[in-house]
Amino acid sequence: MKRKRQKTKGVAAERENLSRRDFLKGASVAVSSGLLITEAQAASSPSGPEAVAGPGPVAITLKINGKPHKLNLEPRVTLLDALRDYLDLTGAKKVCDRGVCGACTVILDGKPAYACNLLAVQAEGHEIVTIEGLSHDGQLHPVMTAFVDHDAQQCGFCTPGFVVACKAFLDKHPNPTLDEVEEGLGGNLCRCGTYAGVRQAVLEAAKTMKGGKANA
């Protein structure tokens, strides 16, 4: 558990750096210069990076799967609730709701992030990719195909988070070893016990994706 996840390498650790620390900053509802707040966003924010947002709804635009979505949200609304409750993008699941299980994993500026651990206002100005953005016109992403082929899913509730995390992992580790897979996917939990299939699926997807990021 835990043994793997405590190490400081790998995608899971990167994700923690991104989300947990920022959550603490974000939780104060101050849109301050957290790790996530890029220069681009600071520039686009009319009242500057130190402005305090809320407690009432604020207008934000989230760029999700390449498309802008205008929303009017209280600053306390998490990115996960924004996706699920306000945009009906329900692929990311709410499971632990505190940055442990990875079922809500999305890709933020190319890195995996727990959407339950980010406020929607923090995600403004960033490129957000959700599971819905990984398949196009019914064409499964190679990671999804590998999950189907290796039966890396049972009830399927953790699966979208796993697929997104795998995609982000493989982008960084195109030729992973089994140890790297176990470490890199250590931030996602499954209850039905699909890890045996997931291990195979990730290694298989690495092969099919080699030489280019098909459907990426």
């Binding site: 043994r3 599971i131 016990g193 890890y195 291990r199």
Partner: protein, 719 residues
Amino acid sequence: MPKCKYDWPEAGDRKLIGQRISRVDGPAKSSGKAKYTYDVNLPGMLYAKILGSPYAHCKITALDTSAAESMPGVKAVRKIQDVGKEIQWVGDEIVAVAAESEDIARDALDKIKIEFEQLPFLVNEQDLSKAGDHAKAAGSEKSGDPDKAFSDPDVVISEGYYGIQTITHCCLETHGSVAEWTSPDTLKTYFSTQNVSGIPGEVGEALRQGGIDIKNNNIETICQYIGGGFGSKFGADRWGIENARLAKMANKPVKLLLERDTDLEVAGARPSSYAKIKVAANKDGSIVAWQSDSWGTGGPAGTTMPPIPYVFTDIPNKVTRHVSVGTNTGPARAWRAPNHPQAAVLTMGALEDLAAKLNMDPLEFFSKNAGLAGERAEVYRQELRKAAELIEWEKNWHPRGHQTPSSLKRGLGISLHTWGGRGHNSNCNVNIHPDGSVEVSLGSQDLGTGTRTVITIVAAETLGLPLEAIKLNIGDSKYPVDGASGGSTTVGGVSASTRRGCIDALDQLFAAVAPSLGVPADQLIAADGKIQAKDDSSKSLTWKQACAKLGVKTIQVTGKNPGPCSLGSSGVGGVEMADVTVDIETGIVKINKMVCAQDCGLVIDMKTAESQCYGAMIMGISYALFEQKIMDNITGRMLNPNMEFYKLAGIGDIGELVVHLMTGPGYDERGTIGLGEPPVISPGAAISNAVANALGVRVPTLPITPEKVLAALEKGGIA
């Protein structure tokens, strides 16, 4: 040639059954398109939250919800329990609030004024001496003459203490529903449930008792996908009923899914079991006597005794006594193979310790005593041989204590298990339309076990069509009534009703096409997308041509289970073995490898069947090493109602896993038997035995945490 009309095809004739077929809803799940109850978003939908009791045992003395009711955005407030009510566990529901957003609903809960009188409580049962009048004698059985058997000077006796903790179900999708009144007397509900066909009746009855006039035929329950159940989601539950009431009050759809902490506190617990056990064997290793004093809790209702001695039920001299401890904790729910993992940990631990005392290899010991397992003795012998081969027992096992000087100690362990798994009652509508399309409909549900896939395979195999030709409808109470998915009863039920329905539908199709082919209907077969004469393949029609002979009339038949011809049976055995390494400096247990040899009769889909076993071993590793519902004696609360401290095994914790399903002659002819429960029974016991083998001393209770390993080593062992 099958002996009975509906029999499964002979091995050589099976095109799909037994193959490795990917689950048919896999793409929907892996692409995030599968809609679970939690994902149902309806126009104008409200979000409900529940205020639960903060105390383990208390009485409500004051309750004022007016401030919550007057909050902007709050649309309905329901007092579920009011002043004077006595509450028996933390998290028991008191008030439900529906509001325009999750955050407003949460704010509204904060505005509720409530006072309690706190009452004495008990939340931990492991120390029976502190249970007082919460502990009640709950059964005793005796056979043979155990006193005499234990006093025989020639027997070897082993005595020990063994236990298995309370764990939660921790379904990734919490319990709950979405309720929508589509007209004043019509209710549509989306439930995260293992019992689609059973929910409308339960909801209707409860609503009528609560003064809402509704007829069952105006209630629909839908569950296309469920994020885990494991035995905890059979009923509508009070929150499900209350949600329907909130929706009625607000006249809007309402979503009520439990929060993670509440779900872990109230919505699923597997009872604990502890026991002091004495066992005796002759010097040749044959077990002659068993004595156990067991206890455990499953919440307020206590527990029943696990089926001990487990598997080796024919031990000639036995006495068992059980004490049930009622505690102020969330009530127990069925957890995959209720009471069997407990029985395995108690029995296999005690017996493996006895083998060690006899200086016998446990593989030899369990094989020698397989005769005590009744009619499945030979199956166990075969499975013990297979599992031993897969884990290389001969090469890797060593007697306790014979170890290398390294701080890493390796050990192997065994456990055996059994389960019933007969198919439940099932109804399956099969429609063959004149355009050739085929629809198969059942009010069943797919928990992730592969039910959709199994039904589709059976229908396609029977009709001689490809999988894609079958349109399958499940997960809705408007389809024919089917059983709840529990106790490994689903595969036997749905596969049999589907088989019978498809064969009866084919009979009608054969009758319709026989005249034009000039072949008697009983000489026709369906294969490879054609209807053709059994002995003359030149006389054939494509499926589509054949269906066109129906004119405008669709064939509809209902296949049932139970029904004619035996398509399934009950009773399986299974053997699991674990290979672990324990670090005696840190106490950390690492799984090197686990193997599972399991029978389940005729396998419909090898791929999803194996997944059941892989998943079961992983769940087993999780409860053997990590999971525990930790209750606090001072506050009466669960200390870890979250997923960072209620620990599930991760992908790096599972080691190498090998599954071997026993198939072929001797197994296939038994027909389908359920597989969901059996393989999850043995991992705890097998891992505990492997750790004992590695350390030379028993870590008495699960989970086997580093702390407990080090404590056991201090008491005695190889360190």
